[in-house]
């Protein structure tokens, strides 16, 4: 899985004289980066698997799909942290007869007909807009930002030691017409929406 992950590295300079030297430094540097990147990657791989799993424990209303065979669409809003891993996870998987597709976009408008939208950290400032856009729609929002769920998100990842955990705001999901399985509820931390005044 590690080999399959490709990172965008620094560009390679053409200067041959310094090439070997640079290479060694680069290797050391890159090595350090890779360790960091790997940790980040492992976390997101888990999160990718969790995303798929969430789809399995949540029932969308039929109105969420255009037809009965329409795929479940996972939208990634902002800077995609998963790379290939999410695509790998959902490839060839079906849930209740529906295939899964991943859509990436910077704009919430592009992702309005997705059943699940992962909101990246990059969109931390736009949360209220996002929540407003999907409010009342059968869309599950998943974030990895602190206070995401309290502020109106459906499910939010957080870290507990080196483990990935999640919290759920059942009021939001209910408000969006989603039915969350009790098993999921029993696993996640239940949070409540903040008052309106505090939301930012």
């Amino acid at each position: 899985m590690i080999e399959n992950i490709s990172y965008p590295g620094p560009s390679r300079s053409p200067m041959r004289r310094y090439m070997t030297w640079l290479c060694a430094v680069a290797v050391l540097f890159i090595g350090a980066l890779r360790v960091q990147a790997e940790a980040a990657d492992t976390e997101h791989q888990v999160k990718a698997a969790f995303l798929f799993n969430f789809a399995q424990f949540i029932d969308w209303p039929p109105s969420a799909f255009t037809n009965t065979n329409a795929p479940i669409c996972i939208g990634i809003l902002g800077a995609d942290p998963f790379g290939e891993s999410l695509d790998e996870t959902v490839r060839d998987e079906t849930i209740h007869g529906r295939t899964l597709v991943v859509r990436r976009s910077r704009k919430i408008e592009d992702l309005k007909d997705c059943q699940m939208i992962f909101v990246c950290r990059s969109e931390k400032k736009n949360l209220d807009e996002i929540f407003a856009a999907v409010k009342g729609k059968p869309v599950l929002t998943v974030g990895e930002t602190e206070g995401f769920a309290e502020r109106g998100g459906g499910i939010n990842f957080y870290r507990d030691g080196n483990k990935v955990r999640f919290e759920i705001n059942p009021a939001v999901t209910r408000q969006n017409g989603l039915r969350v399985s009790s098993e999921l509820l029993s696993l996640g931390r239940i949070v409540k929406s903040e008052t309106k005044g505090k939301s930012e």
Partner: protein, 825 residues
């Protein structure tokens, strides 16, 4: 089922019911228990699978989101299930994810999940179930459950089953005790009746009827059976009684036959035993002993009948009867008078049986009864219908002789009598045979002696002829020549004496073979004188011969004074005495004393006194048998040395002299022979002596016929000396011719002297011829056999006088005087 056989019917029935109930219940319980077990396990499996599935559903989210805590908490819900001891959750890669163990237990879970299954293993229920999420497997759940519940349940079930079994058995016993009664009681009644019948043998008992079921039929059949048994029983009893009687009779008959056979066997044995014996005594002993032992009887004896004295002599008494016989004074040789009772009938030839003699009136049975004897059988011993003895058998038990035994005794007595008779005949025959043999031997001996005697006789004849001239001339010389010198006369006397001795010796030799009594010319014999002579004569034998062997025999004479003379033949008495002395010497091989004694016995009234001669020795003596037989001819104790004739001859001589002989002998002490002669009547002997005077005729014409010229010459000389005219003829024929010629010349001979033994014509023929020619002419026969002729009564016809050779002058003269009486007168 053999153990069931001896159990009483009541208990058997109860047992059968109980066993049936129990086995049915047991089967039910086992089936039910088995079903329960299987059902329990199935349920348990199903429940646990359901539990596992529910649990799998509950943990799938936790597994999906890798929430161990959540998973563990979910598994903790199993605490409410007591059977489940542990559970383990494995993720999709097979790694254990969460575990649960019931508190207090440590369970070793499998490291990797096995394929999905549900099975009982090692006393546990082990279940592997998949954990699925949306038809996709996400892990495996393993649950391990204990079978404790199953065991508890099983124990409970078994307890209940036992209780139920006990309860049902109790109920079954109660029910059975009520229900078996109609079955068991009639059968028990039947059994009781059967036992009673068997015990009392009373077949009249009947079983009361039991209704119309099978038992009723059984009792009816039993009763019918009893009826027929009763009938047959009575018939059988009758037959049995008849049979028993018959068996008893046959047994008796068989016993009698056996006893008879035994007696026959005994009879046979006795017969054989007595057949082997010859003497009466041992025959009787065998019979008595066998009877005592095998019949058996208490007293047995055999008596011999003496018709003359009309009494019985007890001859043999049995060994066992000995004591009783002593008591009864019936030992051997005792005489028993024949009384009027049984014994007289018995000696008339009848078998007498007295069943009980205790009250008998007669002496003989009373005598036996005193000895404790009660039953008596007296069997006669008959030979040719003559009773010669009686067999007496008695027992202490009264009436104890059966008719068979009486018959047996009768038959036995016949056999015994026959055997006894035969034995007597045999003994008589033996006696006759012995006598015959003895006679034969005597005759043979006599024949030998006769042959010897004939030879001796011939010798004697020749000697007599030879010495006749000597005797005649000697006598004539002594008589007719008074001028002979003293010396010549002495010599002639000696010659005469010697001739006389020779003549006597020859005469004795002739006597030796002679058996018939000689015509004794008894002369008075002075025994004292003769004893002295005999001592001298036998000196060689008692003195010289023993001394050669170093033995000394003393001879003593004790002679009575004034011993009367006895009449006898001197030479014979001498011979007898010599013989006695020889015997005494032979009886003293170690030496001893021989005493010769004479004495006169005490005067016997109305009889002549006896002159006794004793010859006594101190020799070996004789035993009784020898003493009795020593006088028999040919009896000798000297073996080949003796002829057995010595004492016989002595005895003959003594008897001829009318004397007696006694022999006293003690073995080792000696023998005394005592001869008693009757003393001579002197008057008679004097009368005899008168006859010796006679007148001698002279001048007779005498014809002397002889074949011996010497004798002719001597006779002529002697006769011519006496003054006779003598014509001699040599031989018989010449004599007859001479006599005839003289008769024709009218010069007949007055007397003829002729020899007896001559060749061709002997003395007898001469005498006959002379008598034929001139009947009145006396013939005197001269013979060397003279004494024998006289002794045998063989004085031939036509002979007037016989003279012995050698003739004595005196005898010749006497004979001439005797035959010529007419001339004398």
């Amino acid at each position: 089922m053999s153990w069931l056989r001896d159990i009483p019917l009541k208990r058997k029935l109860t047992l059968v019911i109980l066993l049936t109930c129990s086995s049915a219940l047991l089967c039910a319980c086992v089936v039910l228990g088995g079903y329960q077990m299987i059902d329990f396990r199935k349920n348990m499996k199903r429940d646990t699978v359901v539990l596992a599935d529910v649990l799998a559903k509950n943990v799938r989210a936790a597994l999906t989101f890798e929430d161990e805590n959540a998973a563990h908490e979910t598994l903790l819900a199993l605490q409410s299930e007591p059977n489940v001891s542990g559970a383990c959750l494995y993720d999709i890669d097979g790694n254990p994810f969460a575990e649960y163990s019931r508190s207090g237990e440590t369970i070793q879970f499998p490291e990797k999940p096995e394929p999905d299954n549900t099975r009982f293993r090692d006393g546990h229920l082990r279940i592997f179930r998949p954990v699925n999420l949306n038809t996709k497997r996400v892990g495996t759940l393993y649950i391990q459950a204990e079978l404790q519940g199953l065991h508890n349940r099983l124990i409970l079930f078994i307890g209940i089953a036992i209780l139920v079994l006990l309860a049902s058995c109790l109920v079954a016993i109660l029910v059975a005790s009520r229900l078996r009664r109609p079955i068991v009681e009639p059968i028990l009644g039947l059994t009781e009746t059967a036992r009673e019948i068997a015990d009392r043998k009373d077949y009249s008992i009947r079983v009361p009827s039991q209704g119309r079921n099978e038992i009723g039929l059984l009792t009816d059949a039993f009763n019918q059976l009893l009826n027929s048994i009763e009938e047959r029983n009575s018939a059988l009893r009758g037959a049995n009684a008849a049979l028993l009687q018959e068996v008893t009779e046959r047994k008796g008959a068989e016993n009698r036959v056996i006893a008879q056979l035994a007696r026959l066997e005994m009879l046979h044995r006795i017969t054989r035993a007595i057949g082997e014996r010859q003497d009466l005594q041992s025959i009787f002993q065998v019979v008595i002993r066998t009877l005592e032992e095998h019949l058996p009887i208490d007293f047995c004896c055999v008596c011999v009948y003496e018709p003359a004295a009309n009494q019985l002599i007890v001859t043999s008494v049995g060994i066992r009867s000995e004591a009783t016989a002593m008591e009864l004074a019936m030992t051997e040789q005792v005489r028993v008078a024949i009384d009027q009772n049984g014994l007289s009938r018995c000696v008339r030839g009848n078998l007498v049986y007295e069943p009980d003699i205790v009250d008998s009136q007669f002496p003989f049975p009373q005598r036996l009864a005193r000895g404790g004897l009660r039953a008596l059988v007296a069997a006669p011993l008959l030979v040719e219908s003559q009773v010669f003895g009686v067999l007496i058998a008695a027992r202490r038990q009264p009436e104890s002789f059966s008719s068979g035994e009486c018959e047996f005794l009768r038959q036995l007595s016949e056999h015994v009598a026959l055997a006894a008779h035969q034995s007597q005949l045999h003994m008589a025959l033996q006696q006759a045979y012995d006598d015959l043999r003895q006679t034969q031997q005597a005759i043979m001996q006599q024949e030998r002696l006769r042959a010897l005697g004939q030879m001796a006789s011939g010798i004697a004849h020749d000697i007599n002829n030879a010495i006749s001239p000597v005797a005649l001339y000697t006598e004539s010389l002594l008589e007719t020549e008074p001028n002979l010198s003293q010396r010549a006369r002495e010599y002639l006397t000696t010659i005469q004496s010697a001739i006389e001795d020779v003549s006597h010796t020859v005469a004795r030799m002739r006597e030796f073979y002679r058996q018939r009594e000689t015509q004794l010319t008894l002369t008075p014999v002075q025994l004292n004188q003769m004893l002295n002579q005999v001592v001298d004569l036998s000196r060689a034998r008692w003195s010289d011969m023993p001394q050669q062997r170093g033995i000394n025999i003393n001879i003593k004479t004790e002679l009575a004074e004034n011993l009367p003379v006895v009449m006898g033949v001197e030479s014979e008495i001498r011979e007898a005495l010599v013989n006695l002395i020889f015997n005494s010497v032979d009886a003293m091989p170690q030496g001893g004393t021989l005493t010769l004694r004479t004495r006169v016995s005490e005067p016997v009234p109305a009889g002549t006194p006896l002159v006794i001669v004793e010859v006594e020795d101190t020799g070996v003596g004789m035993d009784e048998d020898t003493r009795r037989r020593c006088l028999e001819p040919f009896f000798t104790t000297k073996g080949e040395r003796g002829t057995g004739l010595g004492l016989a001859m002595v005895y003959g001589i003594i008897r001829r002299h009318g004397a007696e002989i006694e022999i006293d002998s003690v073995i080792g002490k000696g023998t005394t022979m005592r001869i008693s002669f009757p003393a001579a009547d002197l008057a008679k002997s004097n009368a005899a002596a008168v006859n010796t005077t006679f007148t001698v005729p002279t001048r007779l014409r005498v014809l002397v016929v002889d074949d011996d010229p010497l004798l002719i010459k001597s006779l002529r000389d002697i006769l011519e000396t006496d003054g006779h005219l003598v014509v001699t003829a040599n031989g018989g024929q010449a004599g007859i011719e001479a006599f005839s010629a003289a008769l024709e010349r009218k010069e007949p001979f007055a007397v003829v002297l002729t020899d007896l033994g001559m060749p061709y014509v002997d003395g007898r023929q001469v005498a006959a011829a002379i008598k034929a020619a001139s009947a009145w002419t006396p013939v005197i026969l001269l013979t060397g056999w003279g004494q024998r002729l006289v002794a045998e009564g063989d004085v031939p016809p036509n002979v007037d006088r016989v003279l012995n050779k050698p003739p004595k002058l005196r005898d010749l003269r006497e004979a001439l005087a005797q035959v010529m009486p007419t001339l004398n007168s």
